[in-house]
Symmetry: D2
Subunit: 335 residues, 4 copies
């Protein structure tokens, strides 16, 4: 299977490449970059020195001639590339937000004018735990956002319970790799280290994504109060999710049962990002506070793996009818 990564100089593109060069089914892997075309990929992703020695290519008919194309392009660019690929019969995994919303109006409210709204309803939201069979048949997967992946997987098992699921309160904490490879004051080491930086309170663009998917999945209008914070860690998201209500059932048991067959979801009382870093796992813990009347779910992922590149490869595996865990068997380090 030949694969092309469009926009491969960022962290997500680099992580995709890191996974694909060790993927047992991967054949030719091409990486494009407008900015770095002609440079060695390993001059940017220095971890790949001696492992992947090709150069960044310019995006072209030829470089896009692959079995699967991953669009690691910014929001607003994928929508200009995907339609032609779909038409040509190429399978596409888009890591931007461009095809995550069925309702184009919501997309446009948060991201700007959409260039190919028709394709939005055709695209499948690439969270295998809810859309596995649709992913198998589609040609265009909209890979979920990192925060939404952690939150949706944490909330889903509460479906059908007698809780006030209409409002979900989420405090999410993300490592700096989630902010991308471009140096900014926000992610300058001296400013981030020994600090926490709360940002975009109630205004983050992943909020409508969570609301759309949760509302659809739970058959209810769900509102999310979302507060993200940047943490002095490279990889990892921890989402603390709170829902009002009481119940007498054993929640850990419920979660374990529901995710029993999922290869990448583990239920544990210690959902630590360390255990999922560099892996495609989502670890989830769940607690009931009978005193306050609240269910608390803590969900952790590696933002670049299950939150981006790993999930993209998981989707590719499903589309290509490979073993779903192929290329994604990495284990976190201890320590």
């Amino acid at each position: 299977m030949d694969a092309t990564i469009v926009g491969g100089s960022g962290y997500t593109g680099g992580e995709l490449l890191r996974i694909l060069v060790r993927h047992p089914k991967a054949g030719n892997i091409t990486v494009t970059s407008t900015q770095h075309a002609g440079k060695k990929v390993s001059s940017i992703h220095t971890n790949l020195r001696g492992v992947y020695d090709k150069e960044f290519k310019v995006m072209s008919e030829k470089t896009l001639d692959a079995d699967v194309v991953f669009l690691a392009t910014p929001h607003g660019e994928s929508m200009n590339i995907a339609p032609k690929l779909v038409e040509k019969g190429v399978k596409v995994v888009d890591l931007s937000a461009d095809y995550r919303f069925k309702d184009v109006k919501v997309y446009e409210q948060f991201y700007g004018k959409h260039a190919s709204p028709g394709l939005c309803r055709q695209a499948v939201y690439g969270l295998p735990e809810i859309n596995r069979s649709k992913i198998k048949k589609t040609q265009l997967v909209a890979n979920p956002g990192c925060y939404p992946t952690s939150v949706i997987l944490g909330v889903l098992p509460l479906k059908g319970m007698n809780l006030k699921i209409e409002k979900v309160t989420v405090d999410s904490f993300s490592g700096t790799s989630g902010a991308g490879s471009k140096p900014t004051e926000f992610t300058h080491h001296s400013e981030v280290d020994e600090n926490l930086k709360v940002y975009n309170v109630g205004k983050h663009r992943h909020r409508p994504e969570m609301e759309a998917v949760l509302s659809e999945q739970l058959n209810k209008k769900v509102k999310v109060s979302f507060t993200p914070t940047l943490i002095p860690v490279i990889r990892g998201i921890q989402s603390n999710i709170h829902i009002s209500g009481k119940s007498s059932i054993d929640m850990m048991k419920r979660y374990k049962k529901i995710y029993k067959k999922e290869p990448f979801v583990r239920i544990t009382e210690m959902p630590y990002i360390k255990n999922v870093a560099n892996t495609n796992f989502c670890d989830i813990g769940v607690w009931q506070d009978q005193n306050a009347g609240e269910v608390t779910v803590v969900s952790v992922i590696d933002n670049l793996v299950k939150g981006a590149a790993g999930q993209a490869v998981q989707n590719m595996n499903i589309m290509q009818r490979f073993e779903e865990t192929e290329g994604l068997k990495n284990i976190a380090g201890h320590p």
Copy 2:
């Protein structure tokens, strides 16, 4: 003014000493330690080398003969020392939880048998922002817990608003110095770095402290859903506080007005722990999410300063009729 720190080998005792040696009104400062008596204080608190060259003393009548005694002793030990000091007319600031609860039953439920319950009602909860005038007159101050300090200051201005204040949802994030100086697996560098460690979900002993103080202050039974997490940072607590409800007032303005005269509370849209580290400040931001119907308050302090030693000195200043900010004028570094 002569001062004695009982139990001065831990981080809180060390921080107290660090503040007191630069306090303009401080005379003789004595530090006791059962474990390290006879050793140079600066062999444990190496930051004080060349600054404070005395030794740890054994606690005794003589070492306790001071104007103010700070009890930086573990919960359960202060209660055996404080009564005699109070009787002798010595002013006491207890940094343990022993006198934080007016209702001894609540204390005993979470900490164990109380040895001097009579003194509990006499002690004043040492949060100057609510009890300044009482602190001025008391002989025994119960210095608040670190998490409660950040949460209570964040919630107080909501008093009287039409919000569902009966339930307060709190995600708090604390640096490792809050866990003390004793090496444990929980705080082993290799286990904490690049990690977040959620712990004691719904069960932390600071939860009843917050509930007791908030219920009293807000004249309402307040329940707190409390989820603490350890972060790879040395100093600092960030508490994300959520309350259901909508309002149309300008919250930042309200908070600024209410805390206008407080020397150590700053209202800001960027409540970052970096700006309060090594200082006695509490920085607070507040947001309204009209979409989800929720008020979110983010409150940050240095757990060892405003969350412990700094607040203790602030209380001492008030008791001693010194300028309240005396010795507490340190400014955080940038960066």
Copy 3:
């Protein structure tokens, strides 16, 4: 191939297991621990939850009945286990220092009485880059220390040059995982973070190991001035190596040529630990300072991989006639 890890509850044992469970040739893997026998391995190495679900075993005839036994035991314990295994024909990779010294006297000077001195001369120092053919034939490999691995690989290419190689000055910087999993004040997060801790200046036990191997390899009495420092990083060693002398040759070219065929040595102007973390690579840079008359080599490894468990598996691969890189193809993350 069946393998047993003796003493598998520490970081080195955990890393060995992490590599072996993904090794294509690994059959049954057994892990022993005196302290944790009966507990699930994944309760200690929580990264392995859902991946390796067996329990720690007590060391016994049966658990030692494997094709290869890794001794991840402390110095002084391996020497009591290895002899019987060698006698029984089991292949042994000892990760302790017990068989690293041909001259038992040097061992005893730094580590204490040796229980099986006879085996010392038979053991092969397991640095494949110098002893590949001997490793192939031996039954007992003494896996090198972490600091020595980084230093020896950095110095070797200088052999035969006209430099004052009799004295090698080394400043090494190591992540905290190198100090093991046992909590101590030395590795307490609050003490290590935002700090550097120089220790054992001139007295570290890896110094005689470097001197012995370098003297043998360079046919000259080599003395090493060795200054180690603990850094606020989990994994990684950087060794700055200085040798007096001037030369006009292109050093980078020389190093590249010498290590051309080595699968795990890369020559680069940016020898960063980030690029070797979680991998078996040793990245090396070399500079000549004509002004001061000095050659500076900077060598980086992951102390737990090329500095311990990875190199042990590399040695196993050689002993077992597997592909040398089998199970060791992990790539560092970016970022």
Copy 4:
């Protein structure tokens, strides 16, 4: 005493301001910034919110009308400002490299054309430990570089000993604040965290500064082999300094004796950056390795304090005949 900080939006300017606002002798403090003129200083240095509420000013006759002017301007800019100030009788502390070299040719070789070479010989190199009496009388102090401060203070006590002082080998490790406040890939959090970045090996511009001062002080041509590395820490420099030779004297004793009267130099076996962070201290340890024939000195400072702003204020104190430690009594935190 009125003071002006020219170029106050960077980290050094911010640190100067942080010290000066708490300096007992400081009157009016003015801060200029070309880029940020008109903005509140505390919008950039957010640590000063509620402490210093003035705005950045444009540099002008009026803003420069102060008792002391600190030039926290980049190399090449100070030389255009200093001459007029000196002429007007204003005291100047220049934190750039512009007046650090007596020999303008050396400056021009490393920094570019000098605009006021005449002033170079008049300026005093502001290391109080060697030039206190000259600083007292000068109008223009050239504040030393951060790396040179740590290295020179570490080497000076070896003067007159029978060691091969002609070549000094230095490995220095610096926190990211030393690289300034401007975001770059080099200091991007995701790239620095869990990493070490060796850079400019043998080519750093602080090398000729060390060589010039050491040669002058030791009356010998001294060459320095200098290898700097960026570390994942905000503040702090550790310099490991190696000199060949053997001696039988007690080095710690010698160092203690020599620095006995220095208020900011402490001799200790644990020279940790943690103990000097946020302070003007330089902590130094010294070891002799009789085996390898080498003296190793480890010297630590806070790059922004003793390595920049603190030393500048120390120089100001001397010039102004204030107590030398005035405003510089901050103690490092523990932890």
